[in-house]
Amino acid sequence: MSREIVMKPSNEKATKITLTITCWVTAIIFFLPIAWIIATALKPKNTVLDIPPKFLFVPTFSNLLDALQFSNTLAYFVHSVIYSFIAVFLAIFVSFLASYSFSRFKPAGTDFLMFLLLSTRFVPAAAFVIPFFQLFNILQLKDSFVGLIIFYTMFSIPFSVWILKGFIDGVSSKFDETGLVYGASRAHIMFKLVLPQVRSGLVAAFVFNIIFVWNEFLFNFQLGGLKTYGIPVGLFTSITKGGQVDWSFVASIGTLYVLPLALVIYFFQKYLLVGLTFGTVRGEV
């Protein structure tokens, strides 16, 4: 049955154009400060603080190159990628198992446990850092990828569980039952039947958590060391060169560091948007 079109075609088009312009203008307004950072990264170093500010200039990549070659920057980039990606993947895997359990078996205390998981995000990081430091010291996990990954996995579990449970709830349990009837193992059901259907949830959980882990500073600073520092720490400890803020450096690092995430958000946007519906819908958002 076709819908009656309530508005006249030309009105509708005008509305669409207005909306499009509004959306784009909004996006650009929010992006402007970031654009300024990127512009600063591309400006010749000694013009960064010019007043009146330089809006037109010949872009140079020398700041970006300098930033990459500075001290341990490249190593820190690699560290960030390693601990962020591994930790979030691990968190999603482990959370998938738990969410499946919560959704299908509803073990005793499910609601309480879910609430408790969420509550781990409540306290400011500063409160936990020293206890963690002391714990890691005892376990000899300081300045180790194992330690950091374990930490960031825990960091990413609560949100992952919440998202994935919603999605798994949305996959009919008839799939599981059918599978069982046909003699499939539980593992087969989970990974071959259910998992593919919660793709959006997996992506959403991944993107969301990786943003937080990617940009996390305090724990990386305190629990890590030269072998495991990521870019946020690298940036923070090198903000000043000789007492003054090195704006070109900060801008360059900021620009380079946001690129991977921006690309992920661009290419996986569809999944991200659907994924945050917590499983209440599986279509377009």
Binding site: R3, E4, K16, L19, T22, C23, T26, A27, I28, F30, P33, I34, W36, L49, I51, V94, L97, A98, S101, R104, F105, P107, F115, L117, T120, R121, F122, V123, A126, A127, F128, I130, P131, L135, I150, F151, M154, I157, V161, T178, V181, R186, I231, P232, L235, I239, V250, I253, G254, Y257, V258, A262, Q269, L273, L276, T277, F278, T280, G283, V285
Partner: protein
């Protein structure tokens, strides 16, 4: 119906309880990894922190930790400076989250209504960047942009003929400026939540409503809101909790200043824990904050569940 099908359906309807033991075993097995992580890396530090809160323990003092009961808590409550910090944080939280939510919903609706927009993916990506760029970098650059001497914002203000404004060290402007920057940073999050929330509304119901020529405000109250509110409220809750913990922004942009007009509680906590290393005292403050957060969440969940139950019975 074939015999096979009947047999099949019967098996499914059975759901024999005798396998529930096996299921229970599997269910706990699947939970084990998460539970281990949780116990070791969440429960343990929390208990540690709880314990520490009853001690007078300064990491850098020659005095060993000594039990002092509720003294830390009493000191915290008596300290007018800190109490002011807590109320200031609540004020920040309320104003910021309200702005972010309203603006986020507005923008979310724009994008939602415009799903065939050219370059929508790019626009949304650009729109989301504020919450994705490393906070250290954005906070530093906002500080630069707002600088009276070198900042681009003042450049525009003065070229339009207005007076050069000092945003971050002016006692009456610093707090609002902080809220504006925080809003810039997190409105995209609320818009994202709005998009998801609106997306969770069943399309079928919406189509039916527009066929029935239901006026827009009735559509909102009877169809959109009942579905969308769960995700939206979850978004508000998450943002509220995070806003309560805001520290990076205020630390880098104003360091709690001028004076203490932007001293948020997470920053004060950071100072106790890391500048003075008064671990006992900072633990007490953290326990207090934990209780506030739990209370907020409990209220939220209660309201949500109460509504859910009311609807289910309706």
């Amino acid at each position: 119906m074939s015999a096979r099908t009947i047999e099949f359906e019967a098996k499914i309807k059975e759901k024999p309880k005798s396998t529930s033991k096996k299921n229970r075993g599997i269910s706990w097995l699947l939970l084990t990894p998460v539970l281990i992580f949780f116990a070791l890396l969440s429960i343990l530090p929390t208990l540690w922190m709880l314990g520490l809160s009853f001690y007078d323990y300064t990491l850098t003092s020659y005095k060993p930790p000594s039990f002092n009961g509720l003294t830390n808590y009493l000191d915290f409550v008596k300290n007018e400076q800190l109490s002011a910090s807590v109320s200031r944080t609540f004020l920040f939280l309320i104003i910021a989250v309200i702005f972010q939510t309203l603006l986020g919903i507005l923008i979310g609706v724009f994008f939602w209504k415009n799903d065939k927009m050219p370059g929508r993916r790019l626009a949304l990506t650009l729109f989301f960047t504020p919450m994705v760029v490393t906070p250290i970098a954005t906070a530093l650059f906002w500080k630069l942009m707002l600088d009276p001497t070198f900042g681009v914002i003042n450049h525009f203000i003065t070229s339009l003929g207005f007076e050069r404004t000092d945003f971050l060290t002016n006692s009456s402007l610093a707090f609002p400026t902080l809220i504006v920057v925080d809003t810039w940073m997190w409105t995209p999050f609320m818009a994202l939540m709005t998009l998801a929330a609106l997306g969770s509304v069943p399309k079928a119901e919406l189509e039916a409503a527009s066929i029935d020529r239901l006026p827009i405000h009735r559509q909102i109250t009877t169809i959109i809101w009942p579905h969308a509110k769960f995700i939206l409220m979850l978004g508000i809750l998450l943002r509220s909790i995070d806003a309560f913990k805001t520290m990076d922004l205020t630390y880098i942009m104003t360091n709690g200043g001028p004076g203490d007009t932007t001293e948020l509680i997470a920053l004060s906590l950071y100072r106790f824990a890391f500048k003075s290393f008064k671990l006992g005292y900072s633990s007490a403050v953290s326990v207090f904050l934990l209780f506030i957060a739990i209370a907020l969440t409990a209220i939220y969940l209660y309201v949500l569940n109460a509504r859910k139950k009311a609807e289910e019975s309706a």
